[in-house]
Symmetry: C2
Subunit: 260 residues, 2 copies
């Protein structure tokens, strides 16, 4: 039986498998085993399998993985010490959260507008991370400095904060259902440098700052944060990054050379 | 800071309050208090407040309502004995579920295509029910016979069945975010008869069947089921229903008149 009043605008296929496998779900220090299980189940519902967990609470993580009926992807989840490590291979890192309690330092994308961005990234052969913070306070300012964009789920101002399992389900639904159909956003065709190589570049620049006595030690943390944000804003591709590394390595060597 | 690459297609407003108040979330015999709480929280996140619960398990329902931090809408939720009663005032009853385990007897709408239908219904001044079945088996065939359409969340065939709280969050996100922007589906402009008046019409027709000895008693349940589906398929408006009632009342009176 079919409803003749409905014009089909959607063809029932989820994201193709080769694209789904290029999306990592990253949980930063999740606490409640039920929430971890719910995120994993939501991933399985929408066909995603790559889960990474950053610095989980050991006991809760063990409990979540050993729960009856836990999806297989939980057993295969990678455990990482830091967010930088978890997203090192990703070319687009998407943080999640609400703006109700913070001011964003990176571009904000409402969830209903995320699909064209992801479609462009997948078309370029990139790898995407979708990052969720701990239940209590969400992603910190430091976590977000590893993100290229902050995606916001539009919620009611009186109750903006979503449960972790439900937020993940809503984001994965949107990604699975809409990215396959979306017109890719107009963006540079070349592939962006992965997060890890930006980190290596940042480290090198920091060494130069230090060697050149660019700023007092008390400013180091703030400079590191700003540099991380800046490098992500520049949309450097792999080639840009390699050249910059060569240049800055040379500069550093010269700076370190013993004076005559 | 703004991402110049993103063309805004979405204006951040959720469904306007007068439309949100014309959507009832209906839970049929929910079991897990955590799931009930999660549905309520998801409703609050997307600005919905009207919750009805059909034949809940008394103890679990009490526990869910008295949970610490339970949203106010749980305290205000209406309790109904039957699904028919819960949706009596609604002009569009939307059942939820997966088709993996069943064959639908009513039109099936993938969730990403639901918005134009709801937009049309709201534009006509109608009232919508979004109905979720019990955790274990979902809505029964009998429950679904009260639904005008069955909405299906597109999920992976290997893990089609969603957690109740996550399914509700995904549906409410879609409704809250997309119905406000959707082009209303081309449908009759007149308002559909509410579910309760179709039930009264069906009851009258059943009395006639019985008075006319239309079929053996063993067929009554099947006839009742088919009649319920048929009346929902006809898109009768309030005027149609009143006329049909008048006609069938007359027929019944004649049938019941003692023979000379």
């Amino acid at each position: 039986m079919h409803n003749r009043h409905i014009k089909p605008i959607y063809n029932r296929s989820l994201l193709p498998p080769d694209q789904r496998d290029r999306l990592d779900v990253v949980l930063v220090s999740p606490r409640n085993p039920l929430n971890i299980g719910a995120v994993a189940r939501g991933m399985a519902n929408f066909g995603f399998v790559r889960l990474r967990v950053v610095a989980p609470f050991a006991e809760h993580w063990r409990e979540a993985r050993s729960a009856v009926g836990a999806p297989e992807l939980l057993a295969n989840a990678a455990e990482c010490a830091t967010l930088a490590e978890a997203v090192a291979a990703c070319t687009l890192v998407v943080g999640t959260g609400t703006l109700t309690y913070r001011k964003a330092e990176q571009p904000v994308v409402p969830l209903p507008e995320l699909a064209p961005l992801l479609a462009a990234e997948f078309a370029r052969g990139g790898r995407v991370a979708l990052v969720f913070g701990p239940e209590k306070h969400g992603l910190t300012r430091d976590d977000l400095s590893y993100c290229n964009v902050l995606v916001e789920i539009p919620t009611d101002v009186r109750q903006p904060s979503m449960n972790l399992g439900q937020a993940a389900a809503v984001c994965l639904y949107e990604v699975a259902v809409r990215s396959a159909q979306a017109e890719p956003a107009a963006q540079p065709a070349s592939s962006t440098a992965p997060s890890g190589s930006l980190d290596r570049l940042a480290e090198l620049i920091e060494q130069i700052m230090s060697a050149a006595e660019y700023s007092p030690a008390s400013m180091q943390a703030a400079n590191r944060h700003d540099l991380r944000l800046l490098l992500r804003r520049l949309h450097l591709d792999a080639h840009d990054t390699r050249r910059a590394m060569g240049f800055f390595r040379r500069v550093l060597r010269r700076l370190m050379r013993p004076r005559p």
